[in-house]
Structure formats: structure tokens, C-alpha cells
Symmetry: C2
Subunit: 156 residues, 2 copies
Amino acid sequence: MDMKKPDFTQRFGFLVNDVARLHGRRFDQRVREIGLTRAQCRVLGTLYMRDGQSQAALAELLEQTPMAIARMTDRMEAAGWLRREPHPDDRRIKLLFLNDAAEGALREAMRIGDSVQAEALAGLSDDETSQLLALLQKARTNLAQLERPEYVPPDD
Amino acid sequence: MDMKKPDFTQRFGFLVNDVARLHGRRFDQRVREIGLTRAQCRVLGTLYMRDGQSQAALAELLEQTPMAIARMTDRMEAAGWLRREPHPDDRRIKLLFLNDAAEGALREAMRIGDSVQAEALAGLSDDETSQLLALLQKARTNLAQLERPEYVPPDD
DNA sequence: GCTTTTTCATATCCATGATTATTATAATCC
DNA sequence: GGATTATAATAATCATGGATATGAAAAAGC
């Protein structure tokens, strides 16, 4: 008898959760000195690509609830990273715009992200790294499609 | 000009964060019906492998702060999943033991985890799946060693 | 033995995210 | 065009996790 108990740390859910937690913790420790957090960098990065989104649209892009975006943009507006402007035609909607401070901070955050990524993927060959990214991308598309079946991954 | 802006969603940090968030959200939705959460499953799974740990030891195993474990075990003790018992020799220490209800719930959580993993990794070959797990495991080891240089990954 | 240092658990505060409900505003449907 | 329905933002509540600080108890130094 004395069955070998299953090793939970080898399961995909545990693993990806752990890697994200450890990676994110380390990233947070470093971007903290520029006054940002991991989640805020995510918002900044998305707005940088598509400035002037509504909160609802941003929530869609980030696969998050509108509520999470409402509070996040509250904090980020208070911190001066972005501003909210009324939509000219629809008084329900607030459009989000990056402030000038955001671009430099985002560039620095990218440098930090590169550095943490290098730490996390140390010892992996270039092939292994691209394979890892491709497989994660596939998993991300799978999971996103489960929630929004109409979603089609970008092609360009 | 009109430089192409960097696609943040392709970065490792964003990707692994997103996959963990989407996977965890889906897992949470399902284990909720047995009264558990993702984080609690993580605790249950670890205690199942090594019952009778101190909170500090559990924090080490989970790569988390003792404070996070203190609050987590508070909630889980109140919910009846585990109990705290005093250490016979050291009055600072509380040892954690799973209650009977935990084992069945954990088995069900594993089934749910298998199901979500299958959804997330749909379309990946067996080779790709094992490669993904192996690469994530490597990243996890890398990141863990940055925080605890003495850490050595299990060999058996 | 007694002081200093470590260690264990925990209180407090903040950031994040999910759920649920509410309010204001648009859009749609007879 | 007035009632119904849908959508945008947000409030309130809970679970989670990091950072800092604290009290109690054990270990180490002398």
C-alpha cells in the first residue's frame, strides 16, 4: 500500500498560477519605485495601444469586469496617470486618455518586464522561449473563447 | 513614421498573468459549488501531501508570506476544512491538520482542475502539453530560486 | 542567568478582482 | 411617444496577497 500521493505542484493550474504569482510579485517590487503596479501597467499598456477607449471597451480588451476597471481607473486618475473625459454623444460613457507622464513610465516598466522575464526564463533556449510564448498564447485564446465565443484572435 | 506600437499582450509577463487569471477565474466558478476557492485548493492540496505542518512551513511550501497563510487558515478553519493544534514543544507554533471533509472535496477539485486544464490546452498535442508544463516548471524554479537561493527542486 | 536576536503568528492597511445591486442614460418595441 | 429593455459606470461586500509592525516565545551570545 502506501500509495504515492499526487503532486499538485505539477498540475497546469497550480503551475501557471504559481509562475504568474512569483513573476508578478517580482515585477511589482521593481515597478513600485516608479509608482506603478502590475495591474496598472496592464491598463497603461492597453491604453497606450488604443487611447480614448471607454471603460467598458477597456474591460473587454482586458477580459475583466467593468467594476474592476472603474476602481482601477479611479486610483490611476488620482495618481495622475490618466484622465476621464465625457463622450460627446453618450452621457453614460467616459473615455480614458493617458496623461503625458504615462509614456515614460511605461517604457521603464517594459525594461523591468524584460528583466524579470529574463530571470524567469533563464536557461531556456530561444526556441524554448518562443515555444513557451506560443503555447501560452494558445491557452489564452482557448480560455478567452470560452467566455466570449465570438472572440477571434488578432491576425495582423 | 507612424511606428508600430509594441504589442504588450505578447510579453511573457502579460501572457502568463492573463492565462493564470482566466484559468483561475474559470476554476473558481466551478469549485465554488463545493465551497472552495482556487487559493484554498492550493492550501488543501499542499496539506494533503504533508499534513501537520506549521503555518510557517506551509508558507515556505507555498512561496507565500506567513501573513497570507494566517488569514487563509483563519477562513478555512472557520469553514471547517482544517484545524489548528498547538505544537507540543513550542508554544509559538500551530500545526495544521486537514479535517475529514477535505479529502473528498480535494478529489472533486482535482476533477474540476483536469476539466479546466483540458479546456485551456485544447488543440495542444501531448508533446506540446508536456513541453509547456516542463517549461513552466523551469520558470517556477528560476523564480523561486531568486527569492530563496538555497531552494533545490525535488528530485524524486 | 540574562540580554539580544530570531522566529511564529497575527493585526493593520492597501491593491486587486469577482459578485451583486443600483442609478443614469440610450435604444427598442409596440 | 411612452413603456420596456439594454448598457455604462459605480457602490457594497468578500477573498486574496503584499508590506509593515507587534507581541510572545524560543534560541543564541556572553
